[in-house]
Structures are given as structure tokens and as C-alpha cells.
Symmetry: C2
Subunit: 340 residues, 2 copies
Amino acid sequence: VTPVSQHPLDPRPRRDETSWIRFLADLWGPSGAEVGVGDDCAVLPPDRYALSTDVLAEGVDFHRGWAPPEALGHKALAANLSDLAACGASPRFLFLTLGIPRDLEDAWVEGLARGMRDLAAREGLGLAGGDLSASASGLFLSLTVLGSQESAPLLRSGGRPGDLLFVGGPLGGARAGLGLFLGGRSLVEFSQKNQGRDEDGLMHRFFSPPTQTALGRFLASEGLATCAMDISDGLAADLRKLGASSNCGAEVDLLTLPLEPGLQDLAPAGETAHRCALRGGEDQVLLFAAAPAAARRMMETPCPVFPVGRLTPPEEGFTLLLSDGKRVELELGGYDHFAP
Amino acid sequence: VTPVSQHPLDPRPRRDETSWIRFLADLWGPSGAEVGVGDDCAVLPPDRYALSTDVLAEGVDFHRGWAPPEALGHKALAANLSDLAACGASPRFLFLTLGIPRDLEDAWVEGLARGMRDLAAREGLGLAGGDLSASASGLFLSLTVLGSQESAPLLRSGGRPGDLLFVGGPLGGARAGLGLFLGGRSLVEFSQKNQGRDEDGLMHRFFSPPTQTALGRFLASEGLATCAMDISDGLAADLRKLGASSNCGAEVDLLTLPLEPGLQDLAPAGETAHRCALRGGEDQVLLFAAAPAAARRMMETPCPVFPVGRLTPPEEGFTLLLSDGKRVELELGGYDHFAP
């Protein structure tokens, strides 16, 4: 810690840029890069890389008061890891960019970094660089992750009518957690392990989606998925994107839709559990299609997967099969950053 | 253009996320990535990559009113390219993350993207991905660039006492331009080509540093530089970083310091031309050291380089050699994002 910068009205010493870089590099330890933190660029070992980048902005994607900073660090990284998993890549390097408002305490930013580091350590992700800036207003995090792409990448294109659709975990939990935060609740403590079926568990689910790395690698290395993506804007919205890329329609079967444990008792006011599962965002689990002949191999996946429907010819559009056998249009309801 | 999202009080149609992605992908054209814009990750061709990431925040690094949006797009990308040049890498891929405040007009963001694209096209940089978000307040840009690292990377370490120091262009222009903006001036039109010796030229210099890509590649492929970095926080501050990484001190010769044309007549109030050159930030030219025996080869560089001093034993510290032969301590004066 090199406290050199201090606000005239604030008696606490504050970290400067050099001190932040040292703190982060020490927290992560060696990155595995040929050249890592501290030079103009990182130089990465020769490989075929998958790369994803994701940004979270305060007041848009989260509010500071919802949870301890560790939870936010965990969530920001988990969202990026989910994209690597959706290509079947193995996590290797993280580049972390933070815009830090002047009113934010050092200890809060340190907690955020620790939450991120704990997940990074589990996933084998080295910190190879980034950038730090002041922010004139809210906190923002911009993460870039690189993974080794050892198998042919899982793409959004490639699905065929008749393929079965699966998801890599129960749905709707993140939406229900968000509803609790919007209703004024907050998380007092954050644990990477919490999977409770109560309100606390749902709030954790918002910040801590299940890891899909092993599932993505398995599907890619075994060549089992015809197309894949991760669900971040809600099943209904993301299925339309997957279908569009694969030139297919899709039918979702309401009966088999896997609901987050506890969701039926704790869905937010004005929402049903099924609506959370269909239209809630940020579930961050894989959505993929597989040929019917591959269905029995879904018993071998490294985490449970759940059937949710099938791809159809494109002219059939996107439909929801109700429990009484009726078909209705699959309503959109995903999140658009630029909607009014 | 798919105008779907509209503010109730704003009659103009606004682009949604999908429309922005299509606009950007069309503007750039094919990226050269195996998988590019539109899937969960980009998948890059196998290679040894140098990677740099850089963020610019409104109200911290720039104000919207200083110049047309093309200028800001150009500057943001130029700062990243300067880091690739400092490693001797060849630009390949850009990942563009934008946090867009709701009060910012689509046309402004389009201009920013065009300014960036014009420079990217000249430098052979494909757009392979990114992320778009609303911002609760100011605009922010977070760029990640990857370059092919064909030669051994230029590093900050490796310089030896006695090595000669060079810079890849005149200094102080960006600081003088910033002074004009802070004094209330602004650029009405932006041209990538403006190199005038007047106020307009200095304001352009702030947004448009000279390209150093060819210089970096030449130094790396010929093995001519013992250490290198790009100047972004001012020569005095960055030379201390280069010296620290190389375990050297350094002496700067005031007589040979190359000043931006026009700077002596137009230095901002309270600054001298030399002070701008020594302490001004954002010059974005290379600073490197070479063994004395390599000095004559500096006639062969693809752009002019200028001698500015030499590395010294670490115990001699960082000094400035004045025109009367006296030595004084090289004053710090770089920019720290977290200084009060």
C-alpha cells in the first residue's frame, strides 16, 4: 500500500494508480502471460483465443447498496465467463478496467477485486492487464476475458429444425433476485456457495450464476451441440437470437421449463415464476441445441442440463407450448439497454 | 437503421442495441476474425498476441464540447494503437465498448464510430466485438486492441546505463492543445491530416497523435531498442517508469528536446514550451533507448526520431541538463487519475 493521494477534506489516505496496480497484481499473483501487468501491452502465449468483453455500469446494471462489493466483482466476472463457456473455451486471461468515482472508498474497490479474484482463482483466470480511471459519476467495470479455444467453437448458428433445446441450469432466479433488490431488500453478506431456497438464496443467485465452463468445454469437445449461447437477456429474447442465427424457429415447452428452487413461492409482485423463467434476464446459463440422437448423452454432462423445447422450421416462428397443449406466441420481454 | 426505441418526449427515432451492432459491423466490414461480431465471443486466428486496453471517461479525459465526435473516436483508438506500437506489435483486432448516456444523440455516436473507423482502416484493425451499455451519466469508451507480436516484444525493462534515449515525435503539443480547450476554445471541424502550426493545429494534435506503428515494428524487428514505452503521462513521469523498469536513472538534455511546431508561440498561460514538452501528458509517441552503437541506424527509422538524453546508473536519479551545463532534478508532473 502506497498512500500518496489524499483529498483535503478526507483524512483517510487513498491509493494512487501505482498502488492500485500493485494491489491487483499481488492479489492475483502470476498470470501466465509472457508479459503481464506493468508494461504497455500484455503479450500472450501463442494460441487460438476466444475473447469476450462485457461492461457493467452503476445505476444501469446495479446499485452499490444492493450487496457487498465482493458480490459485484463476482457477478461481473461470471457474466464474462458465461460467454467463454458459450463458445466452449477454457478461461485463461482477464483484463480489468475500472472507472472509480471519487466518493467510493478504497476498501469497497478492494472488496470488489477480491470477489472477482476468488472466482478467477477457481476458474484458472490470470490477471494480465487492464486500465484504471477516475469516473466523473458512477462506477463502471469493463472486463475482457480470453480463453483457449481448443475445440471448434460453439456458435449461435448451426442449429437445425428438430434439434432439442437444453439449458444448463434452472431459470428465473436472477430476475427474482433483482425483484427483491428493486423492492428495497439487500444482501448483508455474500458467499460464493450460497444456494439457499429463500430470499437470501435468490439474491445470491442474481450475483452468482452457476459455472458453465465445464459444460461448454464438454459440449464443444464432444461435438454435441449444434448451436449455443448464454442466456443474458431472458430465454424468450435470447432464443429468438439463437433461432435467427440458425435460421430456425423454436418451441418452448412450459411443462419442462426448469424453475429456480424457491422461485414459485418467492416470485416478485406482479410476476409469476414462469414469467421470470421465460423473460427474466441475467440467468447466465447455457442455452444450446442438440440433435435428437444425442439426447441420451445429456446424462453425461458435467452439470445437469434441462430440456426446454426444440428448434422448428423458421416459418413456425417462436411459440410456447402450454400445459393444455395449446400453442401461443413466445412473448419477447428481454432487456434492451436503449429502450426508453 | 432499425429505429425501434423512442423516448416519449423525444420525437426522433433512436437506434436500439441490435441496430447499433449492425451499424458498427457494417461500418467496419469484415474483421479477419474466425468468429466476429454477433456471437458470444470472438474467436481469433491462432497467433501470439499483444493486447492493450484503455478507457476514456467524459468529464475526466475529455469534454464533449471540445471537438466533433470524430476527433474523440480518433483519439481513443490512437491511444490504444500507441500501446501496441510500444511493444512493436502489428494492429489486428479492436473490441469496442461504449457506455452511452441517454441524452447523447445517435448522430454523435455515429460520428465517434466513423472517426475511429477511419483510423482503424488506415491501420488494418478489424472490429471483432465489444459491448454496448447505457450510462447513467457521462459517456465512456473502453477499447481493447490486439496486435500480432511477430518479433520479440519491446519492453520497459532491458535498458542499460549509457543507452541513448529517443522519442518518436515532437513533444508538448497535446498539452498545449488541452490548454486551449481548458481556456474555452474548441475545434469546429476535425481532419485526420491537420498538422498546422497554429492554435487549430495544436488542438488537432491533442486528438490526433502521429502514428507510431511502423516505428515500433521497425525497432522490434531490427532489435534496435533496449527498452521502450509510449509517453502518455508526460516525458518526465514516464521516463521515471521506464528507468524504474530498467533499473536505471536518466538524464534529459533540454537543448535537444524536440518541441511541437508552433508550441513556443502558443504555450498556454502559465506554461512554457519546455514545460509542456517535459510534463505535458498524452503525447502518445514512443520513448525508447538504444545502445550508442545503434545511434547511426536511427537515420533509417520510418519516421523521424529525436534524441532526448541518455540512461544513467540508477544512483544518479532523474536529471535535466540545462543549456548552461547545470543539472537539476527532473521534476515530476505527470497525471495521476486518483490525485485529489
